[in-house]
Symmetry: D2
Subunit: 344 residues, 4 copies
Amino acid sequence: METVLRSYLSDNTAGASTEILDAVVRAADGLAAPYGNDGLSKEMTEQFGAVFEHAVDVFPVTTGSAANGLALAALTPPWGSILCHPDGHITTDEAGAPEFFTDGAKITLVDGPGSKIDPELLRAAVGRRRGDVHSVQPAVLSLTQVTETGSVYTLDELRELSAIAHGAGLRVHMDGARFANALVALGVTPAELTWRLGVDVLSFGATKNGAMTADAIVSFDPGLRTELAYRHKRGGQLTAKMRFQSAQLAAYLRDDLWLRNARQANAMARRLADGLPERADAAANILFCRFPVELSRALKERGFAFYDDRWEPGTVRLVTSFAHRTEDIDAFLTAVHELAPVVA
Amino acid sequence: METVLRSYLSDNTAGASTEILDAVVRAADGLAAPYGNDGLSKEMTEQFGAVFEHAVDVFPVTTGSAANGLALAALTPPWGSILCHPDGHITTDEAGAPEFFTDGAKITLVDGPGSKIDPELLRAAVGRRRGDVHSVQPAVLSLTQVTETGSVYTLDELRELSAIAHGAGLRVHMDGARFANALVALGVTPAELTWRLGVDVLSFGATKNGAMTADAIVSFDPGLRTELAYRHKRGGQLTAKMRFQSAQLAAYLRDDLWLRNARQANAMARRLADGLPERADAAANILFCRFPVELSRALKERGFAFYDDRWEPGTVRLVTSFAHRTEDIDAFLTAVHELAPVVA
Amino acid sequence: METVLRSYLSDNTAGASTEILDAVVRAADGLAAPYGNDGLSKEMTEQFGAVFEHAVDVFPVTTGSAANGLALAALTPPWGSILCHPDGHITTDEAGAPEFFTDGAKITLVDGPGSKIDPELLRAAVGRRRGDVHSVQPAVLSLTQVTETGSVYTLDELRELSAIAHGAGLRVHMDGARFANALVALGVTPAELTWRLGVDVLSFGATKNGAMTADAIVSFDPGLRTELAYRHKRGGQLTAKMRFQSAQLAAYLRDDLWLRNARQANAMARRLADGLPERADAAANILFCRFPVELSRALKERGFAFYDDRWEPGTVRLVTSFAHRTEDIDAFLTAVHELAPVVA
Amino acid sequence: METVLRSYLSDNTAGASTEILDAVVRAADGLAAPYGNDGLSKEMTEQFGAVFEHAVDVFPVTTGSAANGLALAALTPPWGSILCHPDGHITTDEAGAPEFFTDGAKITLVDGPGSKIDPELLRAAVGRRRGDVHSVQPAVLSLTQVTETGSVYTLDELRELSAIAHGAGLRVHMDGARFANALVALGVTPAELTWRLGVDVLSFGATKNGAMTADAIVSFDPGLRTELAYRHKRGGQLTAKMRFQSAQLAAYLRDDLWLRNARQANAMARRLADGLPERADAAANILFCRFPVELSRALKERGFAFYDDRWEPGTVRLVTSFAHRTEDIDAFLTAVHELAPVVA
C-alpha cells in the first residue's frame, strides 16, 4: 500500500475493509444453495431486519444504478414521473438507467438550494396535471441522502418532503449510496432515517463505504416483494453465488463496521474542512472549497488528486473515505499550507 | 469444509478457487480509479486479448443473464428475432431478461436433437419472412456451448451453424456459461471456438468454474464497443470498484486456472459416468442417467443431492464442478452400488 | 366500382360500408371537444354498453395490433407470459408489437388442432414454473375468435379454456379481429361470447367488416380503466378528432350493420365452399381448399386473386367480406368449374 | 352547423375540409391492396416527394404523438437524449410517448425565450458530457414549428440551430403539428423549411388543419426507411386500409388545400389580434392576450370558449382554425368591445 493516500477523487477509489474481505474468503468454504437460498443470505436478511427494526426484503445488487433502477421500477408505472433534484445521481450519472429499468418513466426535476428539494416546489410538483391523461403522473419522490454535493437532509426536512409525497399518493424512494455517512452525520438510527419517515424502498449503498461490490435494495413494503424479485432476476442481478454478496453485506453491518467506517470518513472530511485556509462545510464526507487554480496545480504536482474541472474555475471537491487516516489528511493540509502562500 | 462433497445439483453451488480469493484480497490494496479505469482492469482486458488471440472488448458482469441480455441487445434491433434452441437458458431460465435488455426482441425456437440446433431447421428459420414488415426479422443466432443438457457442439457443427447464420445476415452469439468446460472437452483453443468460427460476442462464464461473481461479455467486433459500453452502464453493470471483478477474471485466466478447473470438473463427470451401473455420457461436466425412484430416494437419505424432478420420472441430472475430487465421486459411486441392489 | 369483385386475398381489401361513410361525413359538422370528450364518443361508449349488456370502457384504435398490444399490456406485467396458439396473429404477424407494448413480456405457444388451443396443453401451460423467479409467469390467455385459419371456437370450448386460465390466476384476452363473423357463425350474443365466458378485454375489430380505420379495445373490467387510458395516450392512439372513429364505431353497431355485414361475408364463404368441386369447410368467412397449381394459375390469369403460396403447394385460402355479392361468388365458381376440367 | 363558431380552444376542435371528406368517400370504392400497397398510398408518397422537392418516405399515422415517438425512435438510441424546449409538446403533453417509443431515451430541456430554443444554450447542450459513459448522449434536436405558444422560428433561426446540432453529430427532428401554418406565415416552400435546413425527419401534421385523423412521418433520409417501416408496424400504426389515410393526405396537398386552410386560420388569428383592445401578436394561428377575469367570464357566458386557466390569471389563449370565418371573428371582437367597458 502506498504510504500516504493522496486521492480525494471519490470514496469509490478505496479498496475494501479487512472484515469484508475476511468474510468473503470464509464464504467460499463448501457448497451452498444458489440464488439466495443459502444460509448466509438468509441470515443477512434477518440482520437487516434487526438493524432497521422492521421486516424487510433485501435484494443484493452490484451497482447503485441497478438498485435505483429496480427500486424505481417497482414504485412507478411507465407513465409515471419520478420527482428528483436536478443534482440527482439518477438523472445526471446513470446514462438513463432509471428510464431503462422503468420501461420509460420520466424524471421530473424539482429544484432547491444545496441539492435538497424545496418543499414548496415539491408541493406544486406532486399535484401537477394529476389525472390528466396527456401528462405523465407524479408517482415517486426520489431523495438522495447524503446528497450528491455532500449536504445532509435533516429528519425534519425529510419528514416534510415525504409527507407531501405520500399526501399526494406518491411513493418515496431514498438513494442511500452514502446512507451510513448520513446516519452518523445525523446521529440517528436506520429506522428513523427510513420507514419511520415514510421511505418505501431504500437503495442501500455499501460499496463506497468498505464493501467490494455489494449494494442492496431494502424494501419496507412486503407488497413489492414479488415484483422486486422478478425484476431483480430479469434485470440480471440475481447472482448464482449470492453468498459472496451476502457475506459482504453481513460483515458490513456486523459490529457496526459500517458506522465505524462512515464515522472515519466523515471525521476525515471534517478534519480537512477545519484545517483549510478558508473553513469549508463538511456535513458528511464530501466537501467543496475554493482553491486558486495555481494551488490546485501545485497540489496535483505533488501527487494529490481531486476534481476541480466540473464547476466554475477554482471550485474543488474533496471526498474522503473510510480508508483515509489522520496522517493522510494532515499531509494534505500541510501541503496546502506550504503551497498556498507560494502560489499566491 | 465438509469432508465429502455430496451435491451434484449444479456447478454454481461450489465456492471459489483459492487463486481467485487471493487475487481479490490483493486487489483491495490501495486506491484505484473506478469504473474500469484501474490498472487491473486494463491488464485483464489485455490478458483476454492474448488468450483469445484477437483484440477484444471485455465488459465484466455479475450474472450470465446480464451477459446474455446485453450481448443480445447489441446484436439485434427490437424488431429482430433471436434464434435459439428450445432448451436455451435464455428462453427457459432468465425470466425474460433477453426481452428486457433488447427492448422486446423475440426469441424464436429452432429445435434439434441433444439440445443442439439442427442445421436444416436453422436454414429454414434464418430466411423466414425476411423483409416482411409484418414479421420480426431473424437477427442473431444464439448458441449455448456447453449446452444446457451437457452436450458439446463439435467445431464442425458450430462452423456450419455459424455459416448459415452469417450467410443470411445474422450475427452469432455464444452463451458460454460453461465455456471452459467446452474448451477442454474439445481440446481446442479459445480462438478456435469463437471468432474463428464466426462468433461475434461471447458470454464468458467464470462463476460456475471457480470465480465468485464474475462473468464477462467478450466482444470480437470493435464496432459494438460504444453501444456495449452504454448498455453496460445503463443496464446497471458498470461497477465502481471493477477491480474486484477484473482481479477474479485475471486470476481465472492466469496459469490456466480456468482450464485446470474445467478439466477437473469434466474428469469428475467422466469418472461418475464410467462408474455408474449403466454407463452414461458425459461430454463435459453434466450427465444424465436413469435411477430407479427408490435409488434416488435412498441416495438423498444419505445426504446426496441432485435434481430428478424436472424430467420424466427416473431421469437424474448430475453436475460436477472444479470442487469435486476423486474421493467425492467414489463415495457417490460406492453408495450407488451399495444401494442399487437393495432398492431393486 | 369494378363490376365483379375478384379478390379473395383478405377481408381488409374491401372498402367501407356506406353507412360508415355517411356517419363520418356527418361527424365532420361543427366543432367538437377533442380526445374523446365529444358527444359522439360518449354515445358510442353507451352503445357498446347496451350491445354488450355490461358497463364497458371503449378505447378506439386504428389497428388490431394496437388493440392487442395495449390490451395485453394492461393484462400482464413485463415478466409475464402470454399464452397463445402458434397460429396466433399476435405471434406471427405483428412484428413484435405485443412485445413492444408490454415492455417485453413473452409469448408462449400452446398448440392444438385447427388453430384452437388444446385444453390439456393449456392446463399444463398455466401451471408451468409458477412462482419460480427464473421463469416468466403465465399471466394472460389470448384467444383469437374467429381464428386465423377461419375456425370458430364453440362457447363450450371457450368456456373451458377461460375457466382453466382464470382458475390459475390468468386473465383472458380475446383477439376479435373478426368478432362479428364469429357472433353470426355461432348465433350468440356479444355478452355470451365475451364477459359471460370470462373475457376480460376484447380487441374489437370493425375495419375488416365495413369500417374504414376503426377498431377498439373493449374492457369489461373497470379496474383497468386508468391504466388503459394512459397506455392508450402514451401508445399514440388517443386521437384529437376521436369523433371520426367514434362515428364509425357507432354506425357499425347501429341497426345491426355489423351483423348484417358479417352475415353477408359468412354466407358468401359458405356459398363458395358449397359450390367448389370438393366441398370445403367455411365456419365463418375464411375457407381453405385444394386447387391444382394449374387451376390456381388459370384463375389468376382471369383476374381472380387469392393466396396459395403460404402453405404446402395446392393449398388455397379464400376470404370473403361484406362487399362480396352472390354474383361475385358465382362468377368465381363458374370460372372454377370451367377451368378445372381443362387444366386437369 | 352552428351559425357562429365560438370556440377558440384549439384547432383540433374543427371538423374536416369538404375536399378531405370527398376524398375519403371516393377512396372507399372497390377493393385495394392493404397496408400501403394500394395505388392511392403510392401516389400520395409521390405527391409528397413533389411538394417537398426531395425523395421522401411517408408513413401515415393517426396521432402526432405517434409521429413524434416513431420519428424520434429512429433518430436516437435508448441511451441518447432528445434536446427540446421546455414548452415542447413531446415533453409536456404526450404522457411519455417519446420515452415509450424510444425505449427510454431521455428528454433534455434547452430553454429560450418565446418557446424557441436559444442557440447559445443549445451550443452548450450538444457537447455536454459527450463520450462520458455515465451520461446519456445528445442524439437529436427536436424543434416545434409553429411552436406550442404560437411563435414561428425564422429560417435563419432554424438554420443556426440545425447547424449547431449537425455540427455536433446530432440529427434534427421537426414537430410540424402546425407545419402548414408555419409555411404560410413565413411564405417559404416546404423544402426551404425542412431538408434544406437540415431537418432529417418531419412530423407532418394534417389533422389540425383540415384532415380527419391523418398525420404522417416524412423522412428525408432513405437510410431510416427500413427502421421506420418496422417501428411503424410494431408501433401499431400500419393500418390495413391505409388508403383512407392516404386519401386524406393526398387531398390535403392537392390544389394547395393545406396552404389555403392554413392561410385562413392565420388570417383569422391576425384579424383577432388586430381587433383586440390591446394589440396582440399572432405569428400563425395561436395568440395570447390579457383579458380581465371578468371579461373572460362574461365572454364565456355568451358561449365563447377558450383557455384562460393554464397560465397566470388574466392570460388568455385563442386558437383559430381553417373553419373560422371572418364573421366568426367579428362576432367575437364585437362581444369583446361590448363587454370590456362593462366589466371594467
